[in-house]
Amino acid sequence: MGVGRRVPVGAQRNMLGVPNRPTRILLLVKDPWENVVVFRIKRSAQLKKLMIAYCDKKSAELDNMRFVHNGRLVRPNLTPDEHEMESGDVIDVVPVLLG
């Protein structure tokens, strides 16, 4: 190997050589008709951000939408980490049901 600057390849590692977790994850928001919108969001950002962005995009009212992750309602002021979300997870969005 020549003497040169080492260029980091792959995931960043900390002092112990353990790869850092990426700070952002991909989340798929899927409506009942299987349309998907992909969001890239920080693990530490409140999910409110994603929900508002989605509703803006779809011209929907936030109060009339429910976001569900693995059967549990998404709380707007929690983060993906607090919800134990993984990159690539699907969040279902459903309109309010009345009857």
């Binding site: 429910r66 569900v68 693995n70 059967g71 459903v94 049901l97 009345l98």
Partner: protein
Amino acid sequence: MLDSLSLNRGVDVPSVVVYKQLLESVERRTPKLEHLHSQIEFNVSKLSLFESLRPQKKPVKVVPDEPFVALRKEEMAEVEQGFSSANRRRVLVTHENSNIEITGEMLQCLRPRAWLNDEVINVYFELLKEREKREPQKFLKCHFFNTFFYKKLIGGKSNYDYKSVRRWTTQKKLGYSLIECDKIFVPIHKEIHWCLAVINKAEEKLQYLDSLKGRDTQVMNRLAKYYVDEVKDKCGKDINLSSWKLEYVEDLPEQENGFDCGVFMIKYADFYSRGLDLCFQAGTHAIFSIENSQGDPKIESD
């Protein structure tokens, strides 16, 4: 005169003539008596026939008071406060386990003549589950799916997608296994109407309860399929539900207006999870709809 004599045993008969006459008059009555006798026999047999034809009377069950307890004064006041317009925007209750936040706005659907929304139903089911956890000896072991479950299960292109709900019922998530539950309640939403389906493992049947007495074979088929897939996924066992009964419950309290289906639906779940029959009537719904709202302020105070 002779007739009256014959009734009087103590009288002495003066002559043979009178005696003969007496005998004749007695004999004249025998055919009449025989006729009456046969008529009695006939009627008795008729009676027993009717008895056997009559539908069996159900033993009168003692209806427990507990599900019908009215609210106390201070509870009523609390409910009124929850309904007040000042609280519309405020979050009144946060239910930690299900992440549901109930605002004053949402509680409005518990007012008379309003339609129930999904949040309120989900909280109510969560509360039923917690009630069972508090006193497991008093209630059946049940699982209550939320309102999103069935919609998700029938999503996708093939109208049945087990994979999408596979992770909803992991042991880690629930803290118990779905398979060991006696009853599994699935709220079904039909555009503007709430129904309830029950996977009743204890009695080996699938039940469908609609306060308008509707029927839906598709719901039953999909739930049966779901249960088979779920058992296979979580325990690796193949089960066969072909011996299970499909029951469209006919003998149930019906709604008599256009806005009570939600209340009826959650009350079916309430009574069934107690192991009771549906021993309430349409008239009592007013109490219930207020009672439901009472459940929510309660967590707040806990």
